[in-house]
Amino acid sequence: MININIDLYTPVERAMRALSELNVDFYDVVAVYSKSIEVSIFGRGIKEASSKVDVGLGVRAFKNKGLGVAYTQSLDESDVRETVKRAVKYAQVAQPDPYFKGIPGPSKAQKVPGLCDGEVIELTLEDASRISRNMIDACESIRRGGVYRGGFQAKHLMFHLSTSTGVDIDDEKTIVSAYIQPVYREDDDVGSSYEFDYGVRLSSIDPYIIGQKAAKKAIEQFGSKKIKSETLPLILLPEVSSTLFMSLLSALSGERAVKGRTFASNLLGKQVAPENLEIIDDGTIPRAVASSTYDGEGVPRRPVKVIEASVVLTFLHNSYSAGIMNVESTGHAVRDGYKGYVDAGPSNVRVKPGDSTLNEIIHETRKGILIVNASISPNIVSGELSTTVDEGFLIEGGEKSFPVKNLMVGGHILEILRGIDLVSKEGRVFGGGHFFPAIRIREAKISGE
């Protein structure tokens, strides 16, 4: 991946200068550059090699508490000028938002180390091709004759933010991600699954292990059966518990949380699970994809204990939601690249491990469902859940019995959280920062035959 010498400073500075002359109350300008390479896997093997250069500039302008946003994929002087004009014009038309109190000023922060890997920047498409091939070879080492979907991507991002309140920051990051989904057939039976990994550094992922895991999981899905509707314990592997915990933290984030629009809006100070649930959000973890020195508004990242002893301690704020509650931003502003709007959301989410091993949890379950792949993400307003078990096993007599199909889980997320009775001591790290253990839910309603 050739490192292009792109100048983000000049267009940002031009936009800032133009904005300073246009009588708006607050403004910020962000410019983002990324270069990525990808080798995709499809069907019988490698299908396509691609590269992408994306660059853009976004402007937020506030006038009388109304917000105008404009963005462009061109850094040419005339396009930047035009983008500024559109943002200002829209800010003048937008109506006053009574909750808006301003944008953050500058703060000093200690740089989070290890977010950019020179080895990733130097990667070539030939390297990417070898990594994709490695995943396929790993699958074939377990079982030959599969068809595949997946690929390997490497990305290098640069970011520059400047605000009317004095924030002037840069950031740079590399991300690598690899994914493979093998499909095997035996007559009318299908064995299919997937595995993935991602990180900041090339050394953080092992394509051969990803491929082997995916193939083993796929083969285990042969012979899946339907089962009857029942009320049973659920064991969620880390890949699935992550969807549950990320949904909870998303519902505790930003204006949707503080404006009472999520199932979690009234949970501050309340116990949401049995005693030992502890969740920390930490955007300062070195070498983690979700880390950064500053959030999307230039507020320093810091570790935030969100849940302790199962009690919700705080929401995750950007400056807007923090302003509504008259508290400080927790440094969780999220920007959609250069496309202007700023939301709030979690960074690296770490759930405290428990005391049991996953094997012990399975052995202690007389009958239940082990869920390998599903999204336990409820309706964010009501908290109610009705979802399919995409991959799972029936547990009988403390052991995995057979894979299940056409099975659904229903419930309310708060019932599911209250039903957590076992948490595994081992878990999985995602993106070098998130940590999720496996968990057992005492009972849940299963819909089948």
Binding site: E48, K52, Y71, Y341, T388
Partner: protein, 464 residues
């Protein structure tokens, strides 16, 4: 000037050894308004533009894209695409093949009565607020009203080494309304969407009764709805859920790329009966729906595609590549989200054709079942043949009548079982599912619909 750049790239690509070269200019101008509880608090305007280049070298695909639009950067992107294809030449995998087509040369723009770019933003804000205002007086249980307006003008200009040179401009306008209702600790939401290939006239022609009030009515009434029962039921789906079902269960499985790569459950079933006699499914980009177009993003003139006829699988959706690999004819089903992505096989406006029953006749004979209304989201595992659809609301069917109101309902089934179990199809076809479909990291404009119809033996993910 764009035409010259595209022609330069294709010529240069061929001279550098490509057996096929395609370049696509993409431009999208987007304006949006965010209204929250009577205040148009934010407005946004974006311009996206750039080029995507695809080549075949040594029988392999290379692709690259850039927003940097001068000749030098474009040539750099071309060289990236070429070196991409060369980088995988030695690797085993899918050979790049394409069906040769007669070149098209055309410049087309979809009709719109009012160009949204010409409308004063203040007028747009006033109109969005008019649609939102009646909800504020609808019920004291309405907690929040969130309306989003968005107009998009998309230009796609394709040139390839067959000599195709097609320039198409499409306006789309879409308005969504989400109403949150609250009673005690209980919250429910109602959602409505109206979108089409249209200019600003779309919102001028709307009225709150069919839009925001409908969302409010649903949110408030769901407060007293019950959790659904669980297990296997006969279900009757409305045109929105029916559209979602057809899209997830049949549409994705008929996409030629999933078919040739062995990832579709219906890959080897052409000519076989895979559904009940009542099932005819058509994907029609030429219809006036949110997913319509005249030429696809490979510059192929779009035609309607019959996928299932009277229960028999008759065809798949094709790109140039899948037509070559499966022996089909490309009829315009390849589209890309933007210049940053290569075209994929995509649905457009997909629907189940109508038969002759009324809703009452369909419900008749169901002793205990579930009526499903409003599509929220869905997904499918094509290789396994299992789909999931989340719906907005539902009712129990008891002795042929709709009785108890139900909320937060999703259904799941094995596709081939569900297709065989369609036992009644209505006459009231409507396409009213404008939205975006995600596939392989790309998002694309689609629409879908159906008349009311009945499916037996569907798993409902209930909570009692």
């Amino acid at each position: 000037m764009i035409e010259n750049l595209l022609e330069f790239i294709v010529e240069r690509g061929l001279s550098l050894g490509a057996s096929f070269c395609e370049t696509r200019y993409f431009e999208e101008r987007i304006n949006s308004i965010v209204v929250e509880n009577g205040i148009a608090k934010a407005m946004s305007s974006g311009v996206l533009k750039g080029i995507g280049i695809r080549v075949i070298i040594n029988g392999r695909w290379g692709f690259s894209s850039t927003n940097l639009m001068d000749k030098e950067e474009a040539e750099k992107a071309l060289r990236d695409a070429i070196s991409g294809a060369k980088s995988i030449t030695a690797e085993a995998g899918e050979e790049a093949k394409i069906a040769a087509v007669k070149p098209s040369k055309d410049s087309v723009a979809h009709n719109m009565r009012i160009d949204p770019e010409e409308v004063d933003p203040e007028i747009k804000v006033r109109r969005v607020l008019e649609l939102e205002k009646p909800v504020r007086e609808f019920s004291d249980r309405v907690k929040d009203i969130l309306v989003n307006y968005r107009d998009v003008i998309t230009r796609v200009f394709v040139h390839n080494s067959f000599g195709t040179l097609v320039d198409e401009t499409t306006p789309r306008t879409i308005v969504t309304c989400k109403v949150i209702a609250k009673e005690g600790d209980l919250m429910q939401s109602g959602y409505e969407v109206s979108g089409s290939i249209a200019g600003y006239e779309l919102i001028e022609d709307m009225n709150p009764e069919d839009f925001s009030i409908r969302a409010a009515r649903r949110a408030v009434s769901l407060l007293s709805a019950k959790a659904p029962p669980r297990g296997k039921f006969s279900v009757v789906v409305d045109p929105k859920v029916g559209g979602l079902f057809v899209h997830e269960a049949i549409g994705h499985n008929s996409e030629g790329d999933f078919v040739y790569s062995g990832q579709s459950i219906i890959a080897n079933k052409v000519g076989q009966k895979i559904a009940s006699d009542l099932v005819t499914v058509i994907d029609d980009p030429t219809m006036h729906g949110y997913g319509g177009f005249i030429y696809d993003h490979e510059g192929v003139r779009a035609k309607p595609h019959v996928i299932i006829k009277d229960g028999v699988l008759v065809g798949f959706l094709h790109s140039l590549e899948t037509a070559a690999k499966l022996g089909g004819v490309p009829e315009g089903s390849a589209r890309a989200q933007s210049h940053h992505y290569p075209p994929l096989v995509r649905m457009s406006n997909i629907y189940l054709t109508p038969r002759d029953m009324t809703l009452e006749e369909i419900l008749e004979g169901i002793n205990y079942g579930i009526y499903l209304s409003g599509s929220e989201y869905g997904y499918v595992e094509t290789e396994k043949g299992q789909f999931t659809c989340k719906v907005e609301e539902a009712w129990l069917i008891e002795r042929g009548e709709l009785t108890e109101h139900l909320r937060d309902v999703a259904i799941s089934s094995l596709i081939l079982e569900a297709l065989r179990n369609i036992s009644a199809v209505g006459r009231d076809l409507r396409l009213e599912m404008p939205g975006m479909c995600g596939k392989s990291g790309q998002s694309m404009y689609v629409d879908g619909g159906a008349p009311h119809f009945r499916i037996d033996g569907i798993v409902v993910g209930g909570r009692r």
